[in-house]
């Protein structure tokens, strides 16, 4: 449970929101894990918490990849612009 909470916090720290499907899943599963704990369904609670942790970690990884993709696209467009300018210069 603790691990899932940490993974969720970390995913949000890098900018994951509910728009990322995996983050929403992670939150829902953590909620259900908590209520499983209350009703003493410990096995269900453990499984939900484990899944929630990996959902959150995947959400985090996806956000990081997406961000790096955006940076890459921006950089590529700058390089393209430089090439074009150089082409015009010659």
């Amino acid at each position: 449970m603790r691990l899932s909470e940490q993974a969720l916090e970390q995913a949000k720290a890098v900018g994951a929101t509910d728009d990322v499907a995996e983050l929403k899943l992670a939150e829902e599963k953590l909620e259900r894990a908590r209520s499983n704990m209350l009703s003493e369904s410990f096995r269900d609670a453990r499984m939900r918490a484990e899944q929630s942790e990996l959902d959150a970690r995947l959400a985090e990884a996806k956000v990081l990849t997406l961000k790096s993709q955006e940076q890459l696209t921006l950089l590529q467009s700058r390089v393209d612009r430089l090439r074009k300018q150089l082409g015009e210069q010659r």
Binding site: K62, T65, S68, L72, R78
Partner: protein
């Protein structure tokens, strides 16, 4: 990497040998997890950037396979298949991230190289432009042995008796401004002249006003005032005899005297 291979073999053996006992849903989950694991374990980029997640994907998959050989373990099978698939996906994302970062580093170097090339190209073009302008100015000017480079703006740029510069002067003045911007050390003396019509005092004032209006335009276009001297000579120093209209027209003029490249201006007349 060597620690992954045996796991993979184990996992494949599991898929082949034990699938029979799993329910339809569990089988689907196992298939998906196994496919995901196959794609990451055979990808050297993924192995390089996320080895631990690949190992965990394999371990979870093996666990799911093992559980699938027992009855009544459907939810556990699906759980570990789920975890395995997630580990594979996370490994894939990490790998994509690392690949992006590597591409980014390469592009950054490429960008720096291009920026340098562009700066050099622009510099060359500015130098070329400067040379071209210099030629233009020189072609508009004459080299007077005593006074240095002198450019004459003829009376077509002024209406008779008027000191205001006509708009047809803009092109020449603009060239002058560019030339001065490209040669920041050069300074100019703007000298006004008139023909001999009218009285000398008025002519002196008119010649000064004409020179001043050229100077004003240069200042308006960004040339530092300190680089410009203005002087009026009235009807002195005619270039032609004032007897004919043609001669008088030639005498109504503004001359721009350029300093040398170091800012040294020839003496006044």
């Amino acid at each position: 990497m060597s620690s992954i291979k045996p796991l993979a073999v184990l996992a494949i053996a599991g898929v082949l040998g034990l699938q029979g006992c799993a329910s339809q849903r569990s089988e689907e989950a196992l298939d998906q997890a196994s496919t995901a694991f196959q794609s990451v374990k055979d990808d050297s980029n993924v192995l390089r950037s996320a080895p631990r997640d690949v190992i965990r994907a394999g371990e979870s998959l093996a666990k799911a396979e093992r559980l699938a050989s027992y009855w009544g373990t459907g939810s556990d099978v699906r759980h570990y298949a789920y975890l395995s698939q997630r580990y594979s996906q996370i490994a894939r994302e990490h790998s994509n991230l690392v690949l992006n970062q590597e591409r980014q580093a390469k592009l950054e170097l490429e960008r720096q190289r291009l920026q340098l090339a562009l700066r050099e190209a622009k510099l060359a073009s500015v130098q070329q432009q400067g040379k071209w302008l210099e030629e233009q100015i020189v072609s508009l000017a004459t080299n007077d042995t005593d006074r240095g480079l002198v450019m004459t703006l003829g009376d077509v740029l002024f209406d008779t008796g008027e000191a205001e510069l006509k708009s047809s002067a803009s092109r020449t003045v603009l060239k002058l401004v560019q030339f001065l911007q490209l040669n920041p050390k050069r300074v100019v003396r703007i000298e006004g002249y008139t023909d001999s019509t009218g009285n000398p005092d008025d002519n002196l004032k008119l010649s000064r006003d004409r020179a001043q209006s050229v100077a004003d335009m240069l200042v308006d276009l960004g040339v530092d005032e300190k680089r410009i001297k203005v002087i009026g000579y009235g009807d002195q120093y005619p270039v032609e005899a004032n007897a004919s209209e043609r001669g008088r027209a030639q005498n109504r003029r503004v001359e721009i005297v350029f300093s040398d490249e170091k800012g040294r201006l020839g003496a006044e007349r």
